[in-house]
Symmetry: C2
Subunit: 228 residues, 2 copies
Protein backbone atom coordinates (compact mmCIF):
# COMPACT_ATOMS: atom_id res chain seq x y z
CA UNK A 1 0.00 0.00 0.00
CA UNK A 2 1.15 3.58 -0.56
CA UNK A 3 1.45 5.04 2.94
CA UNK A 4 2.21 8.60 4.00
CA UNK A 5 3.62 8.89 7.50
CA UNK A 6 3.24 12.50 8.65
CA UNK A 7 5.92 13.50 11.17
CA UNK A 8 9.67 12.84 11.35
CA UNK A 9 9.99 12.31 15.12
CA UNK A 10 10.68 8.96 16.76
CA UNK A 11 7.08 7.74 16.28
CA UNK A 12 7.03 8.64 12.59
CA UNK A 13 10.46 7.10 12.04
CA UNK A 14 9.56 3.85 13.82
CA UNK A 15 6.33 3.44 11.85
CA UNK A 16 7.83 4.47 8.49
CA UNK A 17 10.81 2.13 8.89
CA UNK A 18 8.70 -0.87 9.86
CA UNK A 19 6.00 -0.30 7.25
CA UNK A 20 8.66 0.03 4.51
CA UNK A 21 10.33 -3.14 5.80
CA UNK A 22 6.95 -4.87 5.44
CA UNK A 23 6.96 -3.92 1.76
CA UNK A 24 4.75 -0.85 1.73
CA UNK A 25 5.60 2.15 -0.44
CA UNK A 26 6.24 4.67 2.32
CA UNK A 27 6.91 8.38 2.21
CA UNK A 28 7.47 10.46 5.32
CA UNK A 29 5.96 13.95 5.34
CA UNK A 30 7.67 16.99 6.79
CA UNK A 31 7.17 20.75 6.61
CA UNK A 32 10.40 21.35 4.69
CA UNK A 33 12.50 18.49 3.37
CA UNK A 34 15.71 20.53 3.06
CA UNK A 35 15.34 21.95 6.58
CA UNK A 36 14.63 18.56 8.09
CA UNK A 37 17.64 16.99 6.37
CA UNK A 38 19.88 19.94 7.31
CA UNK A 39 19.35 19.59 11.06
CA UNK A 40 22.49 18.09 12.56
CA UNK A 41 21.69 18.24 16.27
CA UNK A 42 20.00 15.65 18.42
CA UNK A 43 16.53 16.69 19.61
CA UNK A 44 15.47 17.56 23.17
CA UNK A 45 14.96 13.85 23.90
CA UNK A 46 18.50 12.98 22.73
CA UNK A 47 17.31 11.34 19.52
CA UNK A 48 19.75 11.47 16.60
CA UNK A 49 19.10 13.95 13.78
CA UNK A 50 16.70 12.95 11.03
CA UNK A 51 19.46 12.93 8.39
CA UNK A 52 21.23 10.08 10.17
CA UNK A 53 18.03 8.02 10.26
CA UNK A 54 17.32 8.89 6.61
CA UNK A 55 20.78 7.67 5.65
CA UNK A 56 19.95 4.28 7.19
CA UNK A 57 16.44 4.16 5.65
CA UNK A 58 16.82 4.89 1.96
CA UNK A 59 13.60 2.95 1.29
CA UNK A 60 11.60 5.79 2.89
CA UNK A 61 11.41 9.01 0.85
CA UNK A 62 10.93 12.38 2.58
CA UNK A 63 8.37 14.65 0.95
CA UNK A 64 6.72 17.96 1.83
CA UNK A 65 3.40 17.49 3.67
CA UNK A 66 1.16 18.01 0.62
CA UNK A 67 3.17 15.75 -1.70
CA UNK A 68 3.30 13.07 0.99
CA UNK A 69 -0.47 13.32 1.40
CA UNK A 70 -1.01 13.04 -2.34
CA UNK A 71 1.16 9.90 -2.41
CA UNK A 72 -0.58 8.06 0.42
CA UNK A 73 -3.60 5.83 -0.03
CA UNK A 74 -3.44 5.74 3.75
CA UNK A 75 -2.19 8.68 5.82
CA UNK A 76 -0.75 8.16 9.26
CA UNK A 77 -0.58 11.09 11.69
CA UNK A 78 2.57 10.67 13.79
CA UNK A 79 3.16 14.34 14.59
CA UNK A 80 3.24 15.75 18.12
CA UNK A 81 -0.37 16.13 19.20
CA UNK A 82 -0.12 19.88 19.67
CA UNK A 83 0.97 20.27 16.04
CA UNK A 84 -1.27 17.66 14.42
CA UNK A 85 -4.13 19.85 13.17
CA UNK A 86 -1.72 22.35 11.62
CA UNK A 87 0.36 19.60 9.99
CA UNK A 88 -2.72 17.86 8.58
CA UNK A 89 -4.00 21.19 7.25
CA UNK A 90 -0.68 21.49 5.40
CA UNK A 91 -1.17 17.96 4.06
CA UNK A 92 -4.45 19.32 2.76
CA UNK A 93 -8.09 18.30 3.14
CA UNK A 94 -8.22 17.19 -0.51
CA UNK A 95 -5.32 14.80 0.12
CA UNK A 96 -7.14 13.30 3.10
CA UNK A 97 -10.63 13.05 1.61
CA UNK A 98 -11.92 9.50 1.38
CA UNK A 99 -8.70 8.09 2.82
CA UNK A 100 -8.04 6.15 5.97
CA UNK A 101 -6.29 8.57 8.34
CA UNK A 102 -4.63 6.70 11.19
CA UNK A 103 -4.14 8.98 14.19
CA UNK A 104 -1.53 7.70 16.64
CA UNK A 105 -0.80 11.08 18.29
CA UNK A 106 -1.46 12.18 21.84
CA UNK A 107 -2.33 15.78 22.72
CA UNK A 108 0.52 16.09 25.22
CA UNK A 109 1.38 19.53 26.58
CA UNK A 110 4.83 19.72 28.17
CA UNK A 111 4.68 23.51 28.65
CA UNK A 112 4.03 23.14 32.39
CA UNK A 113 6.77 20.53 32.84
CA UNK A 114 6.60 16.83 33.61
CA UNK A 115 4.41 14.90 33.70
CA UNK A 116 2.67 16.38 30.64
CA UNK A 117 -0.96 17.43 30.79
CA UNK A 118 -3.36 16.90 27.90
CA UNK A 119 -4.15 19.96 25.79
CA UNK A 120 -7.58 18.49 25.07
CA UNK A 121 -9.45 16.06 27.33
CA UNK A 122 -12.74 15.04 28.88
CA UNK A 123 -15.22 16.80 26.52
CA UNK A 124 -13.23 16.29 23.35
CA UNK A 125 -10.17 14.51 21.98
CA UNK A 126 -7.53 15.02 19.32
CA UNK A 127 -9.01 12.15 17.32
CA UNK A 128 -12.41 13.87 17.26
CA UNK A 129 -10.82 17.23 16.42
CA UNK A 130 -9.10 15.68 13.41
CA UNK A 131 -12.32 13.99 12.29
CA UNK A 132 -14.23 17.28 12.62
CA UNK A 133 -11.52 19.29 10.83
CA UNK A 134 -11.45 16.78 7.94
CA UNK A 135 -14.98 15.40 7.72
CA UNK A 136 -14.24 13.51 4.49
CA UNK A 137 -11.31 11.65 6.05
CA UNK A 138 -11.95 8.25 7.62
CA UNK A 139 -10.14 8.74 10.93
CA UNK A 140 -9.11 5.76 13.06
CA UNK A 141 -7.47 6.33 16.42
CA UNK A 142 -5.03 3.58 17.39
CA UNK A 143 -1.57 2.77 18.78
CA UNK A 144 -1.46 5.91 20.97
CA UNK A 145 -1.51 3.83 24.16
CA UNK A 146 1.96 2.33 23.67
CA UNK A 147 5.52 3.50 23.11
CA UNK A 148 6.76 3.76 19.49
CA UNK A 149 8.93 0.66 19.86
CA UNK A 150 5.98 -1.41 21.06
CA UNK A 151 3.72 0.00 18.31
CA UNK A 152 5.86 -1.60 15.62
CA UNK A 153 6.98 -4.68 17.59
CA UNK A 154 4.37 -5.80 20.13
CA UNK A 155 6.48 -8.89 20.87
CA UNK A 156 8.76 -6.63 22.95
CA UNK A 157 6.09 -7.13 25.62
CA UNK A 158 5.47 -10.82 26.34
CA UNK A 159 2.14 -12.57 26.01
CA UNK A 160 -1.19 -11.12 25.01
CA UNK A 161 -1.80 -7.40 25.46
CA UNK A 162 -4.28 -4.98 23.99
CA UNK A 163 -4.36 -2.39 21.26
CA UNK A 164 -7.42 -0.22 20.75
CA UNK A 165 -9.12 1.08 17.61
CA UNK A 166 -11.79 3.78 17.52
CA UNK A 167 -13.41 5.37 14.49
CA UNK A 168 -16.73 6.07 12.84
CA UNK A 169 -15.97 4.16 9.61
CA UNK A 170 -16.16 0.39 9.99
CA UNK A 171 -14.33 -0.40 6.75
CA UNK A 172 -11.53 2.01 7.70
CA UNK A 173 -11.18 0.17 11.01
CA UNK A 174 -10.94 -3.15 9.16
CA UNK A 175 -8.11 -1.72 7.01
CA UNK A 176 -6.33 -0.54 10.15
CA UNK A 177 -6.80 -3.91 11.86
CA UNK A 178 -5.10 -5.52 8.87
CA UNK A 179 -2.20 -3.12 9.18
CA UNK A 180 -1.97 -3.75 12.94
CA UNK A 181 -1.79 -7.48 12.31
CA UNK A 182 1.04 -6.90 9.84
CA UNK A 183 2.85 -5.05 12.64
CA UNK A 184 2.43 -8.14 14.82
CA UNK A 185 -0.70 -7.34 16.80
CA UNK A 186 -2.78 -10.49 17.17
CA UNK A 187 -6.41 -10.38 16.09
CA UNK A 188 -7.83 -11.31 19.49
CA UNK A 189 -5.95 -8.49 21.20
CA UNK A 190 -7.26 -5.72 18.92
CA UNK A 191 -10.13 -4.12 20.85
CA UNK A 192 -12.69 -2.13 18.87
CA UNK A 193 -14.00 0.60 21.18
CA UNK A 194 -16.59 1.93 18.72
CA UNK A 195 -16.77 5.44 17.29
CA UNK A 196 -14.06 8.09 17.24
CA UNK A 197 -15.45 9.53 20.48
CA UNK A 198 -13.72 6.65 22.29
CA UNK A 199 -10.45 8.42 21.43
CA UNK A 200 -11.19 10.32 24.66
CA UNK A 201 -10.66 7.07 26.50
CA UNK A 202 -7.38 6.10 24.88
CA UNK A 203 -5.95 9.64 25.04
CA UNK A 204 -6.96 10.10 28.68
CA UNK A 205 -5.16 6.83 29.44
CA UNK A 206 -1.89 8.72 28.96
CA UNK A 207 -1.55 10.02 32.55
CA UNK A 208 -1.84 6.41 33.77
CA UNK A 209 0.68 5.33 31.12
CA UNK A 210 3.11 8.00 32.37
CA UNK A 211 2.59 6.93 36.00
CA UNK A 212 3.22 3.30 34.99
CA UNK A 213 6.39 4.32 33.12
CA UNK A 214 7.63 5.77 36.41
CA UNK A 215 6.55 2.76 38.47
CA UNK A 216 7.88 0.10 36.08
CA UNK A 217 11.06 1.88 34.94
CA UNK A 218 10.61 0.80 31.32
CA UNK A 219 8.52 1.89 28.33
CA UNK A 220 8.34 -1.71 27.14
CA UNK A 221 4.98 -2.39 28.76
CA UNK A 222 1.33 -2.46 27.86
CA UNK A 223 -2.02 -3.32 29.35
CA UNK A 224 -4.06 -6.41 28.68
CA UNK A 225 -7.83 -6.46 28.98
CA UNK A 226 -9.04 -9.40 31.07
CA UNK A 227 -12.71 -10.29 31.22
CA UNK A 228 -14.82 -12.89 32.88
Amino acid sequence: MRIAVIGTGMVGRALAARLAELGHDVVIGTRGVEETLARSDSDAMGNPPYSQWQHEHTNVRPEPFAEAGAHGELVLNATAGGASLQALAAVGAANLAGKVVVDVANPLDFSRGMPPRLSVANDDSLGEQIQRAFPDARVVKTLNTVNANVMVDPSRVPGAHAIFVAGDDGAAKETVKGLLMQLGWREGTIVDLGGIRAARGTEMFLPLWVALLGALGTADFNIAVVKA
Copy 2:
Protein backbone atom coordinates in the same frame (compact mmCIF):
# COMPACT_ATOMS: atom_id res chain seq x y z
CA MET B 1 -9.91 -3.06 62.34
CA ARG B 2 -12.60 -0.42 62.99
CA ILE B 3 -13.59 0.76 59.53
CA ALA B 4 -15.94 3.58 58.52
CA VAL B 5 -17.32 3.24 55.02
CA ILE B 6 -18.69 6.63 53.95
CA GLY B 7 -21.53 6.29 51.42
CA THR B 8 -24.51 3.96 51.21
CA GLY B 9 -24.57 3.39 47.43
CA MET B 10 -23.61 0.15 45.72
CA VAL B 11 -19.87 0.74 46.20
CA GLY B 12 -20.23 1.50 49.90
CA ARG B 13 -22.54 -1.49 50.41
CA ALA B 14 -20.23 -3.88 48.58
CA LEU B 15 -17.18 -2.77 50.55
CA ALA B 16 -18.97 -2.63 53.90
CA ALA B 17 -20.50 -6.09 53.47
CA ARG B 18 -17.23 -7.74 52.46
CA LEU B 19 -15.11 -6.00 55.10
CA ALA B 20 -17.60 -7.01 57.80
CA GLU B 21 -17.59 -10.57 56.46
CA LEU B 22 -13.79 -10.52 56.80
CA GLY B 23 -14.24 -9.77 60.49
CA HIS B 24 -13.73 -6.01 60.60
CA ASP B 25 -15.86 -3.80 62.83
CA VAL B 26 -17.63 -1.83 60.11
CA VAL B 27 -19.97 1.15 60.28
CA ILE B 28 -21.45 2.77 57.21
CA GLY B 29 -21.74 6.55 57.25
CA THR B 30 -24.69 8.46 55.85
CA ARG B 31 -26.02 12.03 56.11
CA GLY B 32 -29.14 10.99 58.00
CA VAL B 33 -29.65 7.45 59.27
CA GLU B 34 -33.44 7.76 59.60
CA GLU B 35 -33.80 9.23 56.10
CA THR B 36 -31.58 6.60 54.53
CA LEU B 37 -33.51 3.76 56.22
CA ALA B 38 -36.86 5.35 55.30
CA ARG B 39 -36.23 5.34 51.53
CA SER B 40 -38.32 2.59 50.00
CA ASP B 41 -37.71 3.17 46.30
CA SER B 42 -35.00 1.71 44.12
CA ASP B 43 -32.44 4.27 42.96
CA ALA B 44 -31.92 5.59 39.41
CA MET B 45 -29.71 2.57 38.64
CA GLY B 46 -32.43 0.15 39.78
CA ASN B 47 -30.60 -0.80 42.96
CA PRO B 48 -32.80 -1.89 45.86
CA PRO B 49 -33.38 0.55 48.73
CA TYR B 50 -30.78 0.72 51.48
CA SER B 51 -33.21 -0.62 54.09
CA GLN B 52 -33.42 -3.94 52.26
CA TRP B 53 -29.63 -4.25 52.16
CA GLN B 54 -29.42 -3.22 55.83
CA HIS B 55 -31.89 -5.94 56.76
CA GLU B 56 -29.56 -8.51 55.15
CA HIS B 57 -26.40 -7.01 56.71
CA THR B 58 -27.07 -6.60 60.41
CA ASN B 59 -23.31 -6.83 61.06
CA VAL B 60 -22.90 -3.34 59.53
CA ARG B 61 -24.21 -0.44 61.61
CA PRO B 62 -25.39 2.78 59.93
CA GLU B 63 -24.17 5.97 61.63
CA PRO B 64 -24.28 9.69 60.83
CA PHE B 65 -21.14 10.85 58.99
CA ALA B 66 -19.40 12.32 62.07
CA GLU B 67 -20.11 9.33 64.33
CA ALA B 68 -18.96 6.95 61.60
CA GLY B 69 -15.74 8.94 61.21
CA ALA B 70 -15.14 8.88 64.95
CA HIS B 71 -15.57 5.09 64.96
CA GLY B 72 -13.18 4.33 62.10
CA GLU B 73 -9.47 3.78 62.53
CA LEU B 74 -9.58 3.69 58.74
CA VAL B 75 -12.09 5.75 56.74
CA LEU B 76 -13.12 4.67 53.27
CA ASN B 77 -14.66 7.21 50.90
CA ALA B 78 -17.26 5.42 48.77
CA THR B 79 -19.49 8.39 48.04
CA ALA B 80 -20.24 9.66 44.52
CA GLY B 81 -17.22 11.72 43.46
CA GLY B 82 -19.20 14.92 43.06
CA ALA B 83 -20.34 14.69 46.69
CA SER B 84 -17.14 13.40 48.29
CA LEU B 85 -15.62 16.64 49.58
CA GLN B 86 -18.91 17.69 51.16
CA ALA B 87 -19.46 14.26 52.74
CA LEU B 88 -15.92 14.13 54.13
CA ALA B 89 -16.35 17.66 55.52
CA ALA B 90 -19.42 16.34 57.37
CA VAL B 91 -17.34 13.41 58.65
CA GLY B 92 -15.06 16.12 60.00
CA ALA B 93 -11.37 16.95 59.62
CA ALA B 94 -10.72 15.96 63.23
CA ASN B 95 -12.17 12.50 62.56
CA LEU B 96 -9.85 12.08 59.56
CA ALA B 97 -6.66 13.50 61.06
CA GLY B 98 -3.83 10.95 61.22
CA LYS B 99 -6.05 8.23 59.76
CA VAL B 100 -5.73 6.25 56.56
CA VAL B 101 -8.42 7.61 54.22
CA VAL B 102 -9.03 5.23 51.33
CA ASP B 103 -10.55 7.06 48.38
CA VAL B 104 -12.25 4.76 45.88
CA ALA B 105 -14.48 7.44 44.30
CA ASN B 106 -14.44 8.78 40.76
CA PRO B 107 -15.37 12.39 39.95
CA LEU B 108 -18.03 11.37 37.45
CA ASP B 109 -20.40 14.03 36.14
CA PHE B 110 -23.55 12.61 34.54
CA SER B 111 -25.19 16.04 34.12
CA ARG B 112 -24.48 16.07 30.38
CA GLY B 113 -25.65 12.50 29.88
CA MET B 114 -23.77 9.33 29.04
CA PRO B 115 -20.92 8.65 28.93
CA PRO B 116 -20.10 10.72 32.02
CA ARG B 117 -17.36 13.35 31.92
CA LEU B 118 -14.99 13.93 34.80
CA SER B 119 -15.72 16.98 36.98
CA VAL B 120 -11.98 17.26 37.68
CA ALA B 121 -9.21 16.05 35.38
CA ASN B 122 -5.85 16.72 33.84
CA ASP B 123 -4.46 19.38 36.23
CA ASP B 124 -5.96 17.95 39.39
CA SER B 125 -7.83 14.92 40.71
CA LEU B 126 -10.38 14.08 43.37
CA GLY B 127 -7.70 12.21 45.31
CA GLU B 128 -5.53 15.31 45.43
CA GLN B 129 -8.50 17.53 46.31
CA ILE B 130 -9.29 15.30 49.28
CA GLN B 131 -5.65 15.29 50.41
CA ARG B 132 -5.50 19.12 50.14
CA ALA B 133 -8.83 19.57 51.95
CA PHE B 134 -7.72 17.27 54.77
CA PRO B 135 -3.94 17.70 55.01
CA ASP B 136 -3.71 15.64 58.20
CA ALA B 137 -5.43 12.64 56.58
CA ARG B 138 -3.26 9.98 54.95
CA VAL B 139 -5.11 9.61 51.66
CA VAL B 140 -4.63 6.54 49.47
CA LYS B 141 -6.36 6.33 46.10
CA THR B 142 -7.22 2.78 45.08
CA LEU B 143 -9.91 0.46 43.66
CA ASN B 144 -11.50 3.23 41.52
CA THR B 145 -10.49 1.47 38.29
CA VAL B 146 -12.84 -1.50 38.75
CA ASN B 147 -16.53 -2.14 39.31
CA ALA B 148 -17.73 -2.56 42.92
CA ASN B 149 -18.21 -6.31 42.48
CA VAL B 150 -14.63 -6.72 41.26
CA MET B 151 -13.29 -4.49 44.05
CA VAL B 152 -14.42 -6.95 46.70
CA ASP B 153 -13.96 -10.14 44.67
CA PRO B 154 -11.15 -9.87 42.12
CA SER B 155 -11.56 -13.58 41.32
CA ARG B 156 -14.65 -12.62 39.27
CA VAL B 157 -12.07 -11.75 36.61
CA PRO B 158 -9.79 -14.72 35.82
CA GLY B 159 -6.02 -14.71 36.11
CA ALA B 160 -3.75 -11.87 37.18
CA HIS B 161 -4.95 -8.30 36.80
CA ALA B 162 -3.89 -5.03 38.32
CA ILE B 163 -5.02 -2.75 41.09
CA PHE B 164 -3.34 0.59 41.67
CA VAL B 165 -2.44 2.48 44.83
CA ALA B 166 -1.35 6.12 44.97
CA GLY B 167 -0.64 8.23 48.01
CA ASP B 168 1.95 10.37 49.72
CA ASP B 169 2.19 8.28 52.91
CA GLY B 170 4.12 5.05 52.46
CA ALA B 171 2.89 3.45 55.69
CA ALA B 172 -0.71 4.25 54.76
CA LYS B 173 -0.18 2.53 51.42
CA GLU B 174 1.17 -0.54 53.22
CA THR B 175 -1.99 -0.64 55.38
CA VAL B 176 -4.12 -0.38 52.25
CA LYS B 177 -2.14 -3.10 50.47
CA GLY B 178 -2.85 -5.38 53.42
CA LEU B 179 -6.55 -4.61 53.15
CA LEU B 180 -6.48 -5.21 49.37
CA MET B 181 -4.89 -8.61 49.94
CA GLN B 182 -7.66 -9.47 52.41
CA LEU B 183 -10.13 -8.63 49.63
CA GLY B 184 -8.31 -11.13 47.40
CA TRP B 185 -5.93 -8.92 45.44
CA ARG B 186 -2.61 -10.72 45.02
CA GLU B 187 0.54 -8.93 46.14
CA GLY B 188 2.22 -9.01 42.71
CA THR B 189 -0.77 -7.37 41.04
CA ILE B 190 -0.90 -4.36 43.39
CA VAL B 191 0.88 -1.57 41.50
CA ASP B 192 2.21 1.36 43.53
CA LEU B 193 2.07 4.42 41.27
CA GLY B 194 3.75 6.76 43.76
CA GLY B 195 2.28 9.91 45.27
CA ILE B 196 -1.36 10.99 45.34
CA ARG B 197 -0.81 12.99 42.14
CA ALA B 198 -1.00 9.66 40.28
CA ALA B 199 -4.72 9.66 41.16
CA ARG B 200 -4.99 11.74 37.97
CA GLY B 201 -3.94 8.66 36.05
CA THR B 202 -6.36 6.24 37.65
CA GLU B 203 -9.28 8.70 37.55
CA MET B 204 -8.64 9.64 33.90
CA PHE B 205 -8.69 5.91 33.08
CA LEU B 206 -12.47 6.05 33.58
CA PRO B 207 -13.39 7.10 30.02
CA LEU B 208 -11.44 4.07 28.73
CA TRP B 209 -13.16 1.88 31.33
CA VAL B 210 -16.57 3.13 30.14
CA ALA B 211 -15.63 2.49 26.49
CA LEU B 212 -14.47 -1.02 27.43
CA LEU B 213 -17.73 -1.64 29.30
CA GLY B 214 -19.53 -0.90 26.03
CA ALA B 215 -17.17 -3.01 23.93
CA LEU B 216 -17.09 -6.02 26.27
CA GLY B 217 -20.70 -5.96 27.43
CA THR B 218 -19.80 -6.77 31.02
CA ALA B 219 -18.46 -4.88 34.03
CA ASP B 220 -16.59 -8.00 35.16
CA PHE B 221 -13.32 -6.98 33.54
CA ASN B 222 -10.06 -5.35 34.47
CA ILE B 223 -6.70 -4.52 32.99
CA ALA B 224 -3.43 -6.32 33.61
CA VAL B 225 -0.08 -4.58 33.31
CA VAL B 226 2.35 -6.59 31.18
CA LYS B 227 6.01 -5.63 31.03
CA ALA B 228 9.10 -6.91 29.32
